[in-house]
Each structure stands twice: as structure tokens, then as C-alpha cells.
């Protein structure tokens, strides 16, 4: 792992965020584009790598923290969000990123998404949604379409897919965007905006699996299908409008910001800081807590 000294904000380039570790991804994997977009977004923001904590679960996309120079935590399947929240609450000054796949986030990790959203802890959750389990070689995922033939659905999937966009909007996420490596500048832009958003930000990335994905999911097909929201007169301040677009997940590929809350809710760590101040944290010795066990005559 290369480490970096602190530079002035304006001097950070994408290169500064790239580690020396060689990705395990297949040539043509969508995740190459995603990590490039992340490097670009971070360079624009200019926080030194040592002030960034990048947490992931398990999967091809979860390898991403290791390909950056940030402090990384490639943890266990589905549990990146709780770990990331613990990091941010322990040190709210850090820039916290979370990455994973659609299985990591919406299958085993699904129970944690709602609570990360309702705590509104300032972190950016990037899901590389490719509707398949790539690392483990081709099992269906929670966003796989009904009828998909895979190594664990030999006769076809009998389930409806989860809609990640509706999922997070339904739980009250205040920044929801979608992107694709088929549009690199658009992707880098939503990632940067998500990081800058003061609260929980969700970015769904249609990052195709070149080995196990379907033809109509690959970058070429995406380029033809995608519809940038900026050119569609979409009101991103309306959660209802966002939900209408979100309903069309699977049929349409909207890119850009679906929803951005104009007056963001308080963050958990912001409320925590206010509480610490109000209670005079740091003004009393820890030993004082033992007074609670004294008996007064």
C-alpha cells in the first residue's frame, strides 16, 4: 500500500487516490470505470487519503477500498454499513465511503440499509448493481430479473427483483442518484455530489459483469438505454417524482440525481456533537462516574 503525505487541497489528482494493488476484476469489468470515477470525485474534493475511510463487504465490487490509498476496510458480507457508521461516529471528521454489490447491500445487508438511512449519518454508499453474484461465479442476486437462468436458478428465477432505488427512497434517503461507467463524467459527478451532500447519500451504479452478466446489461447496451435526468426536466427536489422514476428501474436507466432533499435532516453525528456540548463533555474527569454508587446518609 502506498501512503501519502498531506498536500494542499487543490493539488490532489486522481493518481493520488490510486493504490498499487492490481485489481482482480476481469478485463472489461464495469468496476474499473467506477473506481476511476471515485478517484476523480475524490480529487475534486481534495481531502487527503488518510482522512478517508472506505468500507466494503464481500464481492468483486467490495475489493474497491484496496485499490485506493484511503484507509480501507474490506469487511464481511453485508455488514459494511454498520461498520462504516461506527467509524463515522467515532470520528465525524473523516470522509466515509461505503461500497458493495447488490447482493452485499440488498440481500444479506438489506436489513442495515433502512437504519443507515434513518440515522442519516454522513456517508456515501455506492452500490455496484450488476444483477448477479460475480465473485462466487454466477449465482442470481436480489436484483436479478424474474426468470433468469443462473447456476443457482437452473430452471429460472421465480422471484421478482428488489428495486434498490425505491427501497432507499421508501426509507427516506435524502440523496439518491444513479450512474453507469458508460457515462464516466456523469458518474464522477454524482459520486462527488453524493460525497458533498451533508447526510446519507446513495448512488446505484449499473456496473455490468462482463463475465456472468447478460448482453443487454453490458456497457454498449447501457449507452443506448441511458437517459440523463438533466435532459428530462426532472424535479430532483420532489421525492414523489423520484419514486415515479424509481418505479421504472429495470426497464429504464435514468442517470443523475433522482432526489436531493433541499433542507437536509440533522445527521446523527451532528446531533451527537450538540449533545456533547450541551452536557459539558470533556469538563469532568471520568472517575466522577463512580459517585453514582455512593450512599448518601
Amino acid at each position: 500500500m502506498s501512503t501519502l503525505a498531506t498536500k494542499p487541497i487543490q493539488d490532489y489528482t486522481a493518481r493520488d487516490y490510486r493504490s498499487d494493488l492490481k485489481p482482480i476484476w476481469c478485463p472489461g469489468c464495469g468496476d474499473f470505470g467506477v473506481v476511476q470515477a471515485i478517484y476523480r470525485a475524490l480529487a475534486n474534493i481534495g481531502r487527503p487519503p488518510h482522512e478517508i475511510a472506505f468500507v466494503s463487504g464481500i464481492g468483486c465490487s467490495s475489493r474497491i477500498p484496496g485499490y485506493t490509498t484511503a484507509y480501507g476496510f474490506n469487511s464481511v458480507h453485508g455488514r459494511a454499513l454498520p461498520i462504516a457508521q461506527g467509524i463515522k461516529l467515532a470520528n465525524p471528521n473523516l470522509l466515509v465511503l461505503v461500497a458493495g454489490g447488490d447482493g452485499d447491500g440488498f440481500s444479506i445487508g438489506g436489513g442495515h440499509v433502512a437504519h443507515a438511512i434513518r440515522r442519516n449519518i454522513d456517508l456515501t454508499y455506492i452500490v455496484m448493481d450488476n444483477q448477479i453474484y460475480g465473485l462466487t461465479k454466477g449465482q442470481l442476486s436480489p436484483t436479478s430479473r424474474r426468470g433468469l437462468i443462473s447456476v443457482t436458478s437452473a430452471h429460472g428465477s421465480m422471484e421478482a427483483p428488489v428495486n434498490p432505488l425505491l427501497y432507499v427512497l421508501g426509507y427516506g434517503a435524502e440523496f439518491v442518484a444513479q450512474g453507469t461507467p458508460a457515462d464516466m463524467s456523469g458518474l464522477a459527478k454524482v459520486i462527488e455530489e453524493g460525497i458533498r451532500f451533508p447526510g446519507f447519500a446513495f448512488i446505484n451504479v449499473q456496473s455490468p459483469c462482463v463475465t456472468y452478466g447478460l448482453e443487454d446489461q453490458q456497457l454498449k447496451a447501457q449507452k443506448a438505454l441511458m437517459q440523463p435526468l438533466e435532459s428530462l426536466n426532472h424535479d430532483s427536489s420532489s421525492s414523489l417524482a423520484a419514486m415515479e422514476l424509481a418505479q421504472q428501474y429495470g426497464e429504464k436507466l435514468y442517470t443523475g440525481v433522482l432526489y436531493r432533499q433541499g433542507t437536509p435532516s440533522p445527521t446523527f453525528e451532528g446531533s451527537a456533537r450538540a449533545r456533547h456540548q450541551a452536557l459539558g463533555a470533556g469538563t469532568r474527569p471520568r472517575a466522577q462516574v463512580m459517585d453514582l454508587f455512593k450512599l448518601k446518609k
Binding site: 500500500m1 487519503p49 488518510h50 484507509y71 455488514r79 457508521q85 459539558g280 471520568r286
Partner: protein, 594 residues
Amino acid sequence: MNTDLVIGMAGSGGDGIVSAGESLLTAAAIEGYHGVLTKSFGPQIRGGESSFRLRLSTNKVLNTGGTLDIAVALNWDDFLRFGGELPVSGHTTVVYDSITKVPTDKIPLVGVQPAEVIAVPIEQMARETGGSERAKNTVVLGLMAGWLGIAREPMMAGIRKRLAKKEAEIIDKAVKAFHAGFEYAEAHPLTSDRKMAPPAESGSKFVVDGNDLCAAAAIVAGCDFFAGYPITPSTEIMQFLTREIWKYGGTVLQAEDEIAGIGAVVGASFAGKKAMTATSGPGMSLKTEILGLASIAELPLVCVNVQRGGPSTGIPTKSEQSDLLQAAFSAHGDVIRPVLAPVSAEDMYGITIEAFNIAEQYQSPVIILSDQEVGQRKETADPIDASTQQVIDRRRPGAQELEKYVRFRFTESGISPISHPGMARGNYLASGIEHNEAGAPTANGEMHARMNEKRLRKFRPLLDRRDLFIIDGPPDAPIALISWGSVAGVAIEALHIAQRQGLKVKLLVPKLMFPVSEAIYADFFLSVKRGLVVEQNHQAQLFRLMRMYVDVPHGIQTLAKSGSNPITPLEVVDRLRQITLALQQGKDREPSEV
């Protein structure tokens, strides 16, 4: 004059039973007595039956005692529901409310003839003085003050303090109710003398319970973050911290589930903070995976298991010691994580501080195996001065190490200095996947073997920690008594009784349960021919664990009972007497005795 009394009382949920027990303990503690108070309830959320057992003594006591010296029944249906928790014998003075209209020779206690049976107009006195039956518990406090000859002033002061915010009329009635009970006791002395001798030393004590004390000790140790999920009987730890830790700059998160709780704790530790979670058996099962992650990522944290009846949902409100093997071995893969077990509520302070210190020093999760008994019973304790408490912090890399920082560098001790996000030049990748010294993922066999070796070897100094064992009795004694956790409090008392009876017994109580200090056990066993391992779980888990790592003498046998089955000092002494006899007669240990 008595130096040691056990009082048990039962009634309906609304009778104020529990607060009566706490008032009595507190008042006695102010006068310098030692005490242990346990409470028990029926399964209902409100109402139902409720009871307490209070053992008061002139000297330190470490368990709740045996049969009751004084039994108080506000009604018989509720008293009988507690069965063996409130055992009445031929030595017991039984007091009950005459409103039950049960004649003194017809009380519904089967197969026992108590020393004395008295019907007292408790509810009547409550109505006459307090205006309602709710003053019953206050009347009982007056009776106890009178019959035990203790704590009258502190109890009155306690009543006034508890009702300080109410109108003078209410305080007045409560004081009258107390006096009614007190005067009744003076007018009706007991045939068995229940007066308490003066305590060994004067001066007020602390009154603690294991859960609250664990939380307080965590704050003293430098804990800045707690995340957990409500689960009986551990929730008081989170509740104490959520009231207090913010005042010291800490944060509490009630997580969405047990897994998120330990996940957030791992994150906080990765970010450089001391962090803790608390749970019981079912929660430990859920946390298993992430505890293993913390072990391979070499992250410090403290995880408290307040054990309850198992398996699965088990018996949430009763104590048991059946999670020892899980604590030692539940991680998949080759993992050691230290396991500590306190022997009393008071002991929770030192054990919690130690747990944080060991976690930081060895960069590992540390499990504290408490139990419902230790966690929730109230006991007197010597005052604790935390102002001089030494705590250990994790070893962080210095400027030179940060020139080219290697997070998992192989060192002589096996411990590598640890950075955290925010520290310049300390950037690294933490992971659950096997990794090389730099933290990069690897599948290489040689690296894996070296990493396993490093991660396990780093704990070796723990095996020399004799200070984490209680060893007592003549070093050359041929009979061993071994116990752990709250049951050790029973064993310690049994040891003293056995020694007074001339039995040649010595005691070993591990507080460091795992890793198993083979040398310390082997040294203890040198003189030992026979012995008894006493614990509250069906499989005799400590006995089995010892035999995995130590040449346990063939003559060691077990007294292993499932939870919700009290173990008493006299019962242990009985077994030690049988063992002594067998040893004298040259008999071998029966296979069925383990």
C-alpha cells in the same frame, strides 16, 4: 446475635417488594453491613408475583446463602410460586400477613416445620397509618428494623429521601407506617433471636450491581463508544451508558440488531476509539462472525456476555454458565480471544478495566463472561477510587514506523503498532480476508501459517497472569475445589467451611478462562489427588475445557447443574466430605462422577 441472615419476601407485583429489599440493603450498607440482594419475578410484564432474597452479614459475603432465616409472605399464592428460590427450613422464622386468614398451624408449606410462624396484620397497619395497602412494604421495613435491631435511622432517612418530592402529608404517613411495623416488632419479639451483631467495620459502602458497574468501569477505562441491542439480562449496561457516557464525550447507539451492534463497535475501534458491546447468549451467537473479523483484523474491543439459561431463547431471566465453550471456540478458523469471568458484581469493575487493557495491548476482542446473577444482583462493595486507575492504550506507530508503515509487521511479540484513519502516513487496508504484512489479500499458505502463528503467539504473556486467578488454601492439599464466575462465590464460602471442618482442600478460581494457562493449572494440580469442579451448566464446560489443555488428575469430578438450580455452599462441602472419605479409603473416582 447473628452475623449472617438471609431474608426472603414475596408478594404481588404492586406491593413494592423489590423497593423494600433495596431500601433494606441500602440502609444496612449505610451502617456498614455487607449484603447481597437478588430479585425474582413472574413472567408477567406488570403485576404478577415478585420477591427478593437479601443476605446481610457483618463480613463480606459472595453468594446469596441457603435457606431463609426470615421468610415474609404478603400472600401465600405468590410466595409458593417461588418454590426453591425461597427455601424454608426448620430454622426459618415465617412471617405472613394475617389478612390471608390462614391459621398459623395451617400455612401451606409442605413437609417443613418452621422454627416459628407469626401472622402480622401488615395490610391492616398499612391502611391505618398510610391510608392504603401500598404502605405494606414500609410496614415490613419497620418490622425488620425492629426484629433485626438495625438500620432504623438510615431507613427513616431513606423513606424521607425517596418521598422528598411528595407532600409532607405523604411522607408523614410513610413514617407512621414504618413506626407501626417497628413498634409491632418491639411488642412481639421473636422466639429465635434475629438481632444482628455490629458490623466488622463501620463506614458506608458502595451498593453496586454488575451491569451498572461494568458500564461505569468502561467509562473509567476510556470507552468512547457503545453499540448494542436490548437483550435480557444485559440491557442495563446500555441503559447506564446512554444516561452517562455522553457527559464524558462518548456515544451510544442502540443498533438495529446484534450484528449491527458489534459491526459499529468494530468500526469505532478501527477509527481508534475504545469500544464495547453487551449482550447475552443469543446475541453472542449472532455476533460470532464479526468477532472473528475483529480477531483477524487485530482490532481491540470488549464484548460482554451476561449469560442466561440456554440454549437458544432458554430462560432469559435466570443465571447459567453455559456459554464458556462458545466464548472460547465459536469463531471459525484458528482464533484465540481472551475470555474473562468476574466472580461478583464488585469484581466487574476490575475485570472490565482489565478487559479493556488486554484488548488494547493485544489488539483483540476480549469477552467478559458475566452472568445474570452477577449482572443484576445488588451487593455492597468497598468504595472504589477510580481517580488513580491506570489504563493501557494500544501501541500506535511512531514517526519512524510511519516512514514506511506496515500494519501487520511481524514482530517479536506478535503485536504490530496500529494506526487509525486520520493518522497521516498510517493508511492501510484492514480486512477479514487473509493478508500479508502490508495488509494485501493473500491465499499463500506460508503467509497464512505465519499470520496464524503471529496472531496466536501474541497472547502468550497472558498465560503467565497468575493475578487473574484466585488460589487459596494449603499448597500441598490433596483435594482441589475449582469454580468460576458467580458460582465461585459459593465455592469460596464452601472452602472456608470445609477448612473449619478439617478437610484438606485448596481452591482455584480462574478469572482468565481462555486461553487456558496450562502451567498455572499444572502447578496447582501437583499435589492434587481428588477434587471437584463446581459450575452452573449441564455439560461441566470448565471441566471439559481444562481437560483439553491440561493433564487434569483422574480423581477430579464435577458438580455441574443447569441454571435456575441453586448451588449452595453446604452442598459443595458435602461433596468434599465424600471425596475426602473416598480418598482416605483409597477408592478411585467413579466414571459416573464426571
